[in-house]
Symmetry: C2
Subunit: 345 residues, 2 copies
C-alpha cells in the first residue's frame, strides 16, 4: 500500500510528524498512547493507523525525561559465570518485567572499583531502584546511593548493620548448619574451603559461621584447616590436595561453593580416595552441577530465585514509598552421596 519513500534519508519520525499528518496537536498523539481513554475513538484509530504506516516507535528516553521516571531497575552481581546468579537474576528480570521495568545488569567481577563505577553509571541513568550483592562496598558509591536516595536492596547477605534493607538467607547460620550436619555424622576433623574473604563478605560470613560452630562444638581446627580461594574447579583440586598431603587429613571438607566442591571431589577420585567412604564433602549453592557428578554432591540449597523475586517486590514497595521490611529466607542442606559417617564410625 504505502509508497516507498527514499529510506536512506528518512529521518526518525516523531509525534510531531504524526500530529501534523493527522491534523491534530502533539498532545493528542501523546495521549493516544498514554491515556487512550481520553481520546475519541475515531481520532485514536486514525492516529494509530498513521503511526502504523510510518512504523513509529516512541522514544523511551524522551518519555523518561518528561515523566521523570526512567523505567529502569538495576542489579549488580559479581559474576556471570557462577550460574547461581543466573537464577536470581532471571527471577529479578521476570518480576521487574511484570511491573513494567527494564533491568540493567551490571557485573562487578568481584571488584569494588568496578562496582562503584557501575553504581555511578546507574545513578546517572536515573535507575529507580537498585539490587546489590553483599554490603561491603566503596564508600563513595555507598554515599552516592544514600544521598541520591536510590531505593536499594541488599541480597546474598544479611548486612551486619546497614542503612539499606535486605532480602537474603543467612550465610553464617547456613555454614554453621553444615558443621552440625557433619558433626552429627560423627566427624571431628572438618576442614573449610571458602571464597576470598577480603573481597567477598558472603564468604566471610560463611567462614565466621563455620568457625563459631566448630568452637561451640569443641571441634579443634587450625589455620591449616581453612583455605581461601577463588570459585574455581582447579582451586578446589589444589585445596583438597593440600589437605590430603597432610599427615592427618580431615575426614570431611566443607566447600562453601559447589564448583570448588566438585574440584575437591575430582581430586579425591584421581588420588584414589573414596568419597564418601574415606572422606566426606559438602558443597554450597546446590547448583545443577551438584547432581551431575558422581556421587552426587551434598550441598546447601539457597533460595536464589525466591530471593530475586522478593528483592524486586521489596524494591517496588520502596519506590512506592513504603517502609522497608527486610526479609530473611531459609536454606536447606540437601543430603546426597558425598557425605557419610567418617571411616571406622
Amino acid at each position: 500500500m504505502s509508497k516507498k519513500s527514499p529510506a536512506a534519508i528518512e529521518r526518525k519520525v516523531t509525534i510531531h510528524d504524526i500530529a501534523r499528518e493527522a491534523g491534530v496537536s502533539v498532545a493528542t498523539v501523546s495521549r493516544t498512547f498514554s491515556h487512550p481513554d481520553r481520546v475519541r475513538e475515531a481520532t485514536r484509530e486514525q492516529i494509530l493507523s498513521i503511526c502504523e504506516k510510518h512504523h513509529f516507535v516512541a522514544d523511551a528516553m524522551a518519555r523518561s525525561l518528561a515523566r521523570r521516571r526512567s523505567g529502569f531497575l538495576a542489579v549488580i552481581i559479581p559474576s556471570l559465570y557462577n550460574s547461581i546468579y543466573a537464577a536470581s537474576t532471571q527471577a529479578i528480570q521476570n518480576a521487574a518485567e511484570a511491573a513494567g521495568y527494564t533491568v540493567l545488569i551490571g557485573v562487578s567481577e568481584f571488584s569494588k572499583a568496578r562496582e562503584a563505577q557501575l553504581i555511578r553509571q546507574f545513578v546517572e541513568r536515573r535507575v529507580e531502584g537498585l539490587i546489590l550483592t553483599g554490603a561491603d562496598r566503596d564508600r563513595d558509591a555507598q554515599q552516592l546511593i544514600l544521598r541520591n536516595q536510590v531505593p536499594s536492596v541488599i541480597t546474598w547477605l544479611i548486612p551486619p548493620r546497614s542503612a539499606l534493607p535486605w532480602v537474603s538467607f543467612d550465610n553464617y547460620a547456613a555454614a554453621a548448619a553444615v558443621v552440625d550436619h557433619l558433626a552429627g555424622l560423627g566427624h571431628r576433623r572438618i576442614a573449610l574451603v571458602c571464597g576470598r574473604t577480603d573481597v567477598n563478605d558472603r564468604a566471610l560470613a560463611r567462614r565466621r559461621g563455620f568457625e563459631a560452630r566448630m568452637r561451640a562444638l569443641h571441634l579443634s581446627f587450625g589455620p591449616a584447616d581453612i583455605r581461601e580461594c577463588e570459585f574455581d574447579f582447579t582451586e578446589g583440586r589444589k585445596a583438597m590436595r593440600g589437605f590430603l598431603d597432610r599427615g592427618d587429613p580431615p575426614t570431611a571438607v566443607f566447600c562453601a561453593n559447589d564448583i570448588v566442591a566438585v574440584g575437591a571431589l575430582y581430586e579425591c577420585q584421581r588420588l584414589g580416595k573414596r568419597v564418601p567412604d574415606d572422606i566426606s564433602i559438602v558443597g554450597f549453592d546446590d547448583l545443577p552441577l551438584a547432581q551431575y557428578v558422581f556421587p552426587q554432591l551434598t550441598s546447601v540449597r539457597v533460595p536464589a530465585a525466591e530471593m530475586g523475586a522478593q528483592a524486586v517486590e521489596l524494591l517496588l514497595g520502596l519506590i512506592a514509598g513504603n517502609r522497608a521490611r527486610s526479609r530473611t529466607l531459609r536454606t536447606e542442606i540437601v543430603v546426597r552421596g558425598t557425605s557419610a559417617p567418617p571411616p571406622g564410625a
Copy 2:
C-alpha cells in the same frame, strides 16, 4: 563545611542550579563536562567544586536526548543458565565498556515472542547497536530492526542468507568435524543428541552438519540415532538410556552440548558402561564443566569470548558508518578422556 539543608525535600540538582550558584550560564557548566578545554581553568575548577559540594550527577537520559545518542548497546541471549553465554556476554560487556557504551542484556528464554518484545524495547530505548543470537526470529521484529536501521550483528550462527552481518563460528562444519573425529577412531555407529531444532537454529545447523558428514562417509543412521531435547542434564541421561536400551547401541554419541553430554556420561557410569572403553562421548561448547567430570570430556571448543569482542568491534564499525565485514571464527575439537576407538578396534 556545607551546612545541612533539609535533605528530605531536596530536589535533584541540575546544571541550572549549578550555573546559578556559580554565576555562569548553563552552557558553561555543560561545557565543563563535555569540553573542559573550552572553559577557563579557574571557572572550571569553581564549577567542579560546586558540583562536588552538591553531589551533582548529570542526567544521562537528558544528555542522551540532547546528543541524540543513547550510549546503549544491547545483546540478546537465549539463556543465562548456560554459562557458554556468560563468556561471550562478558566479552561484549568489556569491549562495549571500553568504547564508552552501556550494555543492555536481554534474555529471550528461547522464545521468539519474548525476543520480539525485547527487540521492541531496545528500539524504543534507541540502542545504537544490537547483538543477536542466531537468525531465526519474528518477522515483525526483524522488520523493526531493518526499518529503523539499527546496526546489528548476528552471533552463534552463520545465517543462511541474511540482511545482517555476522560474527560466528560454523556450527555445521564443527559438527561435521566431530563425525570425522569419531569416524577416524573407527566408529561406524554414531548417534546424535542435539537441541530442539524447531526453536534453535544453531542446533539445526549442527544436526545438518552431522547428517551431511555421516552420509558423506557412508555411515548409516536412522531416526532412532538422533534425539532432540532441551539443554539439560536429565535430558542427556534419558537420551543415553534410550540408546543403550536398544539391541545394538551406538559405539559413540555426539552431544551437541556439554550439559547433555555430562548427563549422558553420568547415565553410562550409572549403568556400568565404561567410557570411553565401551562407548565414546563427545560434547560441544567446552564448558569449564567438561574438565570437572571424570573422565574429562572431549568437546568442541567455541571461541565465545572472541566472538563477543569481535561482534562489538564490528558493531562499532557499523555505527561509525563502515561497511559490514562478517567474520567466521574457528572451532577446535579438544580431545580428552571420553573419546577413544570403539571396543574391539
